[in-house]
């Protein structure tokens, strides 16, 4: 069955209005109108009439979970999520950044989301490739079944074929053009540290000027801070003004984590983040 963006938009508006009218939530995180149809933007509805401003179309790439930590703890929030976005919500619950009972999750089963910059389909190459939210209170459309499913790690084949030296050269080349605008961390739902290590000046972990060594320092640290936590929404790479394929590293680490600990990030609120959990049966491969 084809996805009807129109129907999803209508249902989102209805649910948002209902939740705001009843006072069950004080805000709804979704998408709204941008400067043209191809560029909708993250949107917050705070009163029932704001619900009319909600938009849903194939360019709603942004991950609304990014905004959850911006509101004071205990704020009752309804959040519209696509599959990957829902994993971010789950991961944030695992990390106790938000409470499950403070959220109403509006799950959107969907495929066919496109990157407005390139027009390319956003699929398992740059995100987790799931179609259905992993956690929700209200399902906004019928679940998607029968769409081709491939591993989110398939895209790594070429990268994994490189030896260590070639990988280093690859990242050096890609990261050389980083301008340290920090859009990657700011777009990331899991990058909520305040201050971020790279902004600290006592001790100072990295320099401010973008140079190859400093860029490597920033990114390698960030990559590892996201180990077992990145839910593969791809927002970091889409946010990057110079198109650095950050998702490749995140996917590689996610794949390693999954192989070692048998758990992918943000799939269940019963899980604990792999790097803060210890189980006797855990793999020792990480120490090798």
């Amino acid at each position: 069955m084809a996805v009807s963006f129109q129907q999803i938009e209508e249902k989102l508006k209805t649910e948002a209005r209902r939740l705001l009218e009843s006072g069950q939530v004080s805000l709804v995180l979704a998408w709204g109108e941008g400067y043209d149809e191809n560029h909708p933007m993250p949107y917050v509805a705070k009163c029932p009439s704001d619900a009319d401003g909600i938009v849903f179309n194939e360019y709603c790439t942004h991950n609304p979970a990014r905004y959850l930590v911006r509101y004071p703890r205990g704020t009752k929030i309804a959040i519209a999520v696509k599959a990957a976005d829902s994993r971010a919500v789950v991961q944030l619950i695992q990390e106790d950044k938000v409470k499950r009972h403070d959220l109403v999750i509006l799950g959107i089963p969907v495929y066919g989301i496109k990157n407005p910059k390139t027009g390319e389909l956003i699929d398992d190459r740059t995100t987790c490739g799931l179609y259905n939210p992993v956690l929700y209170d209200v399902l906004i459309a019928e679940e998607v079944h029968g769409q081709p499913v491939s591993s989110p790690y398939a895209v790594l084949a070429e990268y994994e074929a490189m030896d260590q030296e070639a990988r280093f050269a690859f990242w050096k080349k890609e990261l050389d053009r980083c301008i340290r605008c920090y859009a990657c961390r700011k777009a990331c739902p899991m990058c909520y540290c305040d201050p971020c290590f790279i902004d600290q000046n006592k001790p100072k972990w990295g320099e401010k000027s973008p140079d190859p060594a400093g860029n490597l320092m920033y990114h390698l640290t960030r990559f590892h801070h996201l180990a077992g936590r990145c839910i593969d929404c791809g927002e970091c790479s889409r946010a990057c003004p110079v198109d650095i394929p950050l998702y490749l590293f995140h996917k590689k680490v996610a794949k390693d984590c999954e192989e070692m600990f048998g758990q992918a990030a943000g799939m269940s609120i019963e899980d604990k983040p792999v790097l803060v959990n210890f189980r006797m049966e855990d793999s020792d491969k990480i120490l090798e």
Binding site: P42, R66, R177, Y182, A187, K208, P241, I244
Partner: protein, 345 residues
């Protein structure tokens, strides 16, 4: 003087320019076009709409070294980095970006406090502007015309280029441009038709429509001042904002920087590095106090600086409508839509 070459011979032109000075021109990179110092004439590519980062980076690079020193050594041994004034040719700059240099000059030399690094490069530079294609519609992010800048305005360039099919017309605008143009071999003279095409393009550029209608800078300034304390308005405008550095780093008229001491082993460098008012730590004071902790305060600062404070202080909006901030904003925030909303509020 109007001369002509073909796009096929672009690398010959680039080669000739490289003999006259350091050539900086648009180059296709894996992430769109950027201005780069040309080492191989074939790199120059004019099949671009505009570069990701503005050409301000040529005069005001993201990192600029001021002093080099060894830690633990007497200060007298520190070495100042002299400003570079080598002849520089900046090729293929769009009219809105050419205009940005004039605005930036206010800050780097116009107020009396002269920045020697900016000035040395600026004085050594010959600017070769390049008209937008007035036959195709403007991109939806752009609004230079709204700010009174034509799509083919030659003002501010030393030489101005207009593309005519597969031909490239080059006209000298200043004496400096004329001297350079006269010294380049391999160009052909232009016909009366070419003259007409050039002039028609410049005229068409004045009428070329980008988004929004023309604006009254004074009215905007006033309105933004009145709105300063309307927190609801600013919160709404910044709900989606990530507080990253994209919009300021790509912008041709953002000039904020930080001065830092960076050391690697014992080699220290005091350097200037671009900063962004959208960063949380931009206003962090040594005491630990931060007057702008909220995203809305920072976005308000960014917009008010460009459209209000700057007008009040220097009489001109500090934005040329190039559209980069909107095009590269990860969440599609559009600066001028916010100004428009403000006018309606």
């Amino acid at each position: 003087m109007l001369k002509k070459t073909t796009l096929n011979q672009l690398s010959d032109l680039a080669f000739a320019l490289m003999e006259k000075g350091t050539l900086v021109a648009p180059v296709r990179q894996n992430a769109g076009f950027q201005f780069r110092e040309i080492t191989d004439a074939k790199q120059v590519d004019l099949n671009f709409h505009n570069t990701v980062i503005s050409p301000k980076s040529v005069f005001f690079p993201q990192t600029e070294d001021f002093v080099r020193y060894k830690t633990g050594r007497p200060v007298q041994e520190a070495e100042a980095v002299e400003p570079q004034g080598k002849p520089l040719i900046l090729f293929g700059v769009r009219p809105c970006d050419v205009k940005s240099f004039e605005i930036m000059d206010i800050h780097f030399s116009g107020t009396g406090a002269v920045d020697p690094y900016w000035q040395a490069r600026r004085e050594a530079a010959t600017i070769i502007g390049y008209a937008f294609d007035v036959g195709a519609p403007a991109e939806s992010e752009e609004f230079y015309q709204t700010l009174g800048i034509g799509a083919a305005d030659p003002e501010g360039s030393d030489i101005f280029m207009v593309r005519h099919g597969d031909d490239l017309l080059l006209k000298s605008i200043t004496g400096r441009g004329e001297a350079l143009l006269a010294g380049i071999g391999g160009l052909t003279g232009a016909s009366a038709d070419d003259e007409k095409y050039f002039d028609d393009t410049v005229a068409a550029g004045r009428d070329f429509k980008t988004r929004f209608t023309c604006v009254d800078a004074k009215a905007i300034t006033k309105k933004l001042e009145d709105l300063f304390h309307h927190t609801d308005f600013w919160e709404k405008a910044s709900n989606a904002c990530l507080s990253c550095g994209v919009c300021t780093f790509v912008c041709p008229t953002c000039y904020c920087f930080d001065i830092c001491d960076e050391t690697l082993f014992k080699q220290g460098t005091r350097r200037r590095v671009w900063d962004a008012c959208m960063f949380t730590d931009f206003t962090l004071e040594a005491s630990g106090h931060n007057p702008r902790t909220k995203v809305y305060q920072r976005l308000r600062q960014k917009i008010n600086h460009k459209y209000s404070y700057h007008v009040r202080k220097y009489g001109v909006i500090s934005c040329v409508g190039c559209g980069r901030c909107t095009r590269y904003c990860p969440v599609n925030i559009d600066i001028f839509s916010i100004v428009e909303e403000a006018m309606k509020a």
